[in-house]
């Protein structure tokens, strides 16, 4: 069937029919930054086309331009050979383009049929009452087309993740979308569910739909995609003409970039004289982490690398007491500790810089001073009962740590949100210098931070480690590990599958291990 599908695709192209979607030399400038630089690609009828690249490579920007969220600075978009100008997402939708997002675009508290018909005029009786029978019938037909046999009156919140993904696709089809963009649709899915999703995508593709598929999970890309386009730093760097050109090593090399790989070897941090053992984790387990063991010494920066959901991020949260531990032990400076809450972890000298700065770390509406001193207030109180804060001491400490981390702010009383992203993040980091934390857990500390601030944060982290602390680091951007870490543990499916040291810490090596190249080769 796959062969026929490819023949079909080839035939329609050979027959001279215009591609479903054609992106021609799209450039997008943001103030001070070129997000996309003359990117071109085509999506054929009946094709599943992977759009690949690291975070910040320009995938999201390209999708937003295709779907009419952003305006391109230059270049053209053609749908069915016709030049289109989308100045609003509705226009893109009307032209038959639909996006299915990572977290879905369904309302969980409504039923499947209500979701499928959201925003449409519902069939009615006497022009007033909703004709639920007709609604159900239409929903059933749509579900049938995506091969889903679920009750249209079921609540979306009661569905499995793969069913939710399929309902999202059915909704896209309901708007007569020919071009369906899937943005990380498998993040929440189990392997069986991924297989179901892929089978249905394949079937829909053979009906003439075209899929643009964005994913970090390369093994899945190789299982489903007909072709791929790779973006790096806003530029189109690689594409293949057909499925036979879709080779893993080429794709990984294109995503990572050769010159970068060289640069990272040069920039690898020198191995240092390490101090006493600060943290020892033994067979740590939870719902999503499986018997993880490692140690962390004074002066070390250790990376926990892995794809989303691999257990790297989960291990950080587990150590900090955010998630429930089901087994194993954590020892801080040789003393066994069991953190049932972040409070206990903070008391033991741990510090967490969480992934979502706005949702989990910053307190908008409050001053830099209040944001920084939050976990260390106990150091400035008059007595343990009234707990009146000595403002002078508080200010002095905040002044000190803010200066040490070079946080640029007009005054300590400026609101945290008036700072740039990088300076906000430095302020969050400064918070923990105030508690004299010994073990720093960092989750993507340079997300949404500009390049200059990134370099500065790396330097600060090295300073912090050198000053008698230790850092555990994870990031969604693989390129950060070689720049920062002495040692990297690579996670896959909740386990540590490899430990890389010194010059072995390269982006390509980490990616290969995280994706599981050897397994993939076995399958092939």
């Amino acid at each position: 069937m796959e062969l026929r599908q490819q023949l079909g695709a080839a035939f329609s192209d050979a027959g001279g029919a215009a591609p479903l979607l054609e992106v021609k030399e799209i450039t997008k400038d943001f103030p001070g930054q070129r997000a996309l630089d003359q990117v071109s690609m085509t999506l054929r009828r009946g094709e599943i086309h992977a759009l690949l690249g690291e975070n910040g490579a320009g995938k999201s920007t390209l999708i937003k331009i295709i779907t009419g969220v952003y305006h391109a600075t230059a270049g053209q978009i053609l749908v069915d050979g016709q030049v289109v100008h989308f100045n609003h997402p509705h226009a893109a939708q009307a032209a038959g383009i639909a996006v299915v997002h990572q977290h879905g675009n369904l309302v969980p508290s409504l039923t499947v049929q209500e979701n499928l018909m959201l925003g449409e005029r519902l069939p009615r009786r006497v022009g007033v009452f909703i004709h639920w029978g007709a609604v159900r019938e239409r929903a059933r037909r749509l579900l049938q087309r995506v091969g889903l046999s679920i009750d249209p009156t079921a609540l979306v919140s009661a569905l499995r993740p793969d069913e939710i993904a399929m309902v999202s696709i059915a909704k896209a089809i309901a708007t007569d979308a020919k071009i369906i963009i899937l943005d990380e649709p498998t993040t929440a899915l189990l392997p069986d569910e991924v297989a179901t999703l892929f089978a249905q995508m394949r079937r829909l593709a053979s009906d003439g739909h075209g899929f643009l598929y964005v994913s970090h999970r390369l093994s899945e890309v190789f299982a489903i995609a007909d072709r791929a386009t790779v973006l790096r730093d806003g530029k189109h760097v690689w594409a293949c003409a057909d499925r036979s050109g879709l080779r893993r090593d080429d794709v990984v090399a294109a995503i990572v970039g050769k010159e970068k790989e060289l640069a990272t070897v040069e920039g690898a941090p020198p191995s240092q004289v390490l101090g006493a053992e600060l943290l020892a984790v033994t067979e740590l387990s939870s719902a999503r982490v499986n018997e993880v063991s490692f140690t962390l010494k004074v002066g070390e920066i250790v990376g926990l690398a892995g794809l989303p959901g691999s257990g790297a991020e989960e291990t950080l949260n587990l150590i900090y007491g955010r998630d429930a531990q089901s087994g194993g032990t954590i020892a801080v400076s040789g003393v066994i500790a069991r953190f049932s809450s972040p409070r206990a972890a903070v008391a033991a000298g741990l510090a967490l810089v969480p992934k979502e700065r706005l949702a989990e770390a910053a307190m908008p509406g409050f001053s830099v001073r209040e944001n920084v001193s939050l976990p260390s207030l106990t150091r400035f109180i008059t007595d343990p009962i009234l707990r009146v804060i000595k403002r002078g001491k508080e200010r002095a400490l905040v002044q000190h740590v803010v200066a040490r981390l070079n946080v640029k702010t007009v005054s300590l009383e400026s609101k945290i949100e008036s700072l740039s992203g990088g300076n906000q993040q430095k302020a969050i980091l400064a918070r923990w210098l105030g508690t004299n934390a010994k073990i720093y857990l960092l989750n993507s500390p340079t997300a949404a931070v500009d390049v200059g601030a990134k370099t500065e944060i790396y330097r600060l982290l090295k300073d912090i480690a050198a000053a008698g602390a230790a850092v555990l680091f994870t990031s969604t951007e693989v390129e950060e590990f070689p720049r920062l870490c002495n040692r990297v543990l690579v996670f896959r499916a909740g386990r540590v599958v490899a430990e890389l040291h010194g010059s072995d810490v390269t982006e390509a090596q980490i990616l290969r291990l995280a994706v599981g190249v050897e397994e993939q080769q076995k399958v092939a």
Partner: protein
């Protein structure tokens, strides 16, 4: 740094309520100088506002950490009735201070129970306090058999609501004390800062090592005790222990005052001084309008319109931030 138009809006959202309060005072003073702008009447405004501020200050603490307390109405009724009942039952020479302390501790304990249910069972505070309010209302009605206590209330208790010390009405003194203590707590202590942190970003507070759940007990406990104290002063002022309806008049006004406060000086943040401005505004409007001979129903309408305007002002700034 900002655009000029933005500055005007920013300034207005901070000072509009205070400006409006001043305009109201000036307006009423010019309209009825011989009645409104007298020392006696202004003290009277404060006196009338005192019970509202006592209740609103406690509510402010709750809202700072983002919890709604709707049980304050019934808690005020409970405080007033229970003190009268206990004092009357003790006959001659009742232990006034012991009784007052006991009732406040009891009310605080009910508030702590609210906190426990909200924190550890995960019930929304809005609904939980509404339910608790209903339970308290029912309990007082049953316990009192709907009878108001009129006779036998000791004079030593009534002094709290009806007399003055050094020319200042006692309710005003109590009000100042409560507001001052809670102001110090919210602005100058670690507990206050942690409450603000929880209200500002609960997850950030939790990750900073603050025991978020325990603070719900503190906040709802303080709110309940303040509401009961407000009810006690009201009972002393009235000279009666009514088993129903005492607190109801204060519920909407307390929320109005606290939210007007959140659009004063620090837009989007609840704070005691703002609440004080809100309470004064409500007090001046109701006093001024009655002096002008405006019918009561207008006062409700004016208050509603005012609240909407205050919210609009605060909302503008929050929207601009996003």
């Amino acid at each position: 740094m900002q655009k000029k138009g933005g500055d005007v809006i920013g300034w207005l959202s901070r000072y509009a309520t205070i400006l409006f309060l001043l305009l109201l005072v000036i307006g009423f003073s010019f309209a009825r100088p011989e009645v409104f702008a007298t020392q006696l009447n202004l003290l009277n405004v404060l006196n009338q506002a005192s019970i509202l501020l006592i209740i609103s200050s406690g509510l402010t603490v709750c809202l700072v950490m983002g919890l709604f307390d709707l049980s304050i109405a019934s808690m005020a009724t409970l405080g007033g009735y229970l003190v009268c009942k206990l004092l009357v039952d003790q006959g001659e020479n009742p232990h006034l201070w012991l009784t007052l302390t006991g009732v406040l501790i009891f009310a605080g304990a009910v508030g702590v129970l609210n906190g426990l249910l909200v924190s550890y069972l995960g019930i929304s505070a809005f609904i939980e306090t509404l339910a608790m309010g209903s339970i308290i209302t029912g309990a007082i009605l049953g316990f009192s058999q709907s009878r108001t206590i009129l006779g036998g209330i000791p004079e030593s208790f009534l002094v709290l609501g009806q007399q003055a010390t050094l020319g200042i009405p006692n309710p005003v003194i109590i009000m100042v004390m409560v507001a001052l203590v809670l102001w110090v707590m919210l602005e100058h202590t670690q507990n206050g800062r942690n409450l603000y942190a929880i209200g500002g970003n609960m997850e950030a507070a939790r990750l900073s090592g603050i025991p978020v759940k325990r603070y719900a007990l503190l906040a709802l406990g303080i709110s309940a005790a303040c509401a009961a104290l407000g009810g006690i002063v009201a009972a002393a002022n009235l000279g009666a222990g009514r088993p129903q309806g005492v607190g109801d008049t204060y519920l909407l006004n307390a929320f109005a005052a606290v939210f007007i406060g959140a659009s004063t000086l620090r837009p989007g943040q609840f704070h005691i001084f703002g609440t004080f401005i809100g309470v004064l505004m409500i007090g001046v409007i109701s006093n001024g309008l009655s002096i002008m001979g405006v019918e009561t129903y207008w006062q409700y309408i004016v208050q509603g319109v005012l609240l909407i305007f205050a919210m609009f002002g605060a909302g503008m700034v929050v929207m601009r931030r996003k």
